[in-house]
Symmetry: C2
Subunit: 250 residues, 2 copies
């Protein structure tokens, strides 16, 4: 069905991460328990195409600038900078809290962009980080609009308890998602990170499929429940503006 050679190659590539962006041939072969000849051929081929570069000093292989180039194309395709970023900045100014743009990728959410609030507080989520779709407002509002079979796939894959607030009971989660969908937006408290609240609205493709979400996140202590409704209204207003331009490109 699929190409085993390419499959192996991409599996090998997966080991070049943030935490370990440089690998020696035998070092990587040892970790994967395969012949170093295989690893060598894969790395050498990637290098020929500029996807990996061999550090002249250490002899180890590292990710090449080519990946960054392809990343630029992807980012451009999403039109984030032009369309959504201004709306995020407006929201950050209005709410004085941080705004997150989360995108659906596979069965996970990925943080594409953050506009920090003036009040500096660190969040556990950073640009590029992946999070499961069942925890936190930014993710749940996406999951709520997924087709049922995909929702079940996520649930069957297992629900991890990130905090004491994470919903790990499948039935409770299903009812919660239904409510989110009925309401059109999502409010959550400390489901993915302790003491962080989130208010999120969905963003759709032109065909009406879920594409991502726009989220206001704030530390729980400075966000009274009385403000939730007001902020959700602001969010929905800006999301509608963004949505019309998204319709033409997605």
């Amino acid at each position: 069905m699929t190409l085993k050679t390419l499959d192996n190659a991409l599996e090998i590539l997966k080991n070049f991460t943030y935490a370990q962006p440089a690998w020696g041939v035998r070092e990587l072969a040892k970790k994967l328990n395969i012949s170093h000849s295989i690893v060598y051929r894969v790395l050498a081929t990637f290098e020929e195409h500029g996807f990996l570069v061999q550090n002249e000093e250490t002899q180890k292989y590292e990710l090449g600038i080519k990946f960054w180039e392809y990343g630029l194309i992807v980012k451009d395709k999403l039109k984030i900078s032009d369309l959504i970023f201004p709306a995020m900045e407006t929201l950050a100014a209005e709410t004085e809290e941080s705004i997150f743009l989360t995108w659906l990728d596979g069965l996970e959410g990925i943080c594409l962009e953050i506009v920090e609030s003036s009040q500096k507080v660190k969040f556990a989520v950073s640009i590029g980080s992946r999070t499961p779709l069942y925890a936190g407002a930014s993710n749940k509002v996406i999951m709520a609009y997924l087709p049922p079979d995909k929702q079940e796939e996520i649930i069957q894959h297992g629900l991890q308890e990130y905090t004491t607030q994470t919903i790990i009971n499948p039935d409770v989660l299903r009812r919660n998602l239904e409510e989110v969908r009925r309401q059109g937006w999502c409010y959550s408290v400390g489901e993915y990170s302790e003491e962080v609240i989130g208010i999120a609205v969905p963003l759709f493709t032109g065909k009406g499929h879920i594409a991502g979400s726009l989220t206001v996140a704030a530390p729980e202590y400075r966000f009274p429940k009385s403000k939730v409704k007001e902020v959700s209204d602001q969010l929905r207003l800006r999301a509608r503006e963004v949505q019309s331009s998204l319709n033409t490109i997605l």
Copy 2:
């Protein structure tokens, strides 16, 4: 020597560009004059790993967010944002012109970062764009510090006349590079883009190999020759600052 399957796969991937970021299976097969079965298997395998995604609407394949993720790792590895960007901003403020960070990748220069001058003028170079190493100050200062065999490889590969000022005579180019190396920085006028001058200084790895360059670019009409020496001094000063921190990571 190399893996033909992976080689083909990456060759197929090369067709996903800025200009055409979405391809249908048969469409791409036709362009490459190969069986659509082959293309399908390659695209499907890339998709399984998140490097490509199939657009549900058009059925076409597009570059996946995974590339952007890997791009983040690469960008982080280069430490541009933390180390060099502040120096670029300082230089932009001091000179009131645009500052370019160019990096060596293969036998080309790639523009990693730009800090625009307050005086808005458009340049032909944008973030992510690749340029040959023999044209323009930002590139020539890199080429000047390459080992002779690589210089010759570039020259043998052919010199294209971007403007009337582009040096396309191999002997003239060789002498020019030698002079640049002796001087330690490079000044050029309209070699890659008409009516644009550039003043560039090299950046090195810890081992003393050329890594990239820092460039001041300006429209010719507002940049008197008398200012060249002054600006080159400013550039060299900031480059020295950046260099010390680069030594520890490259």
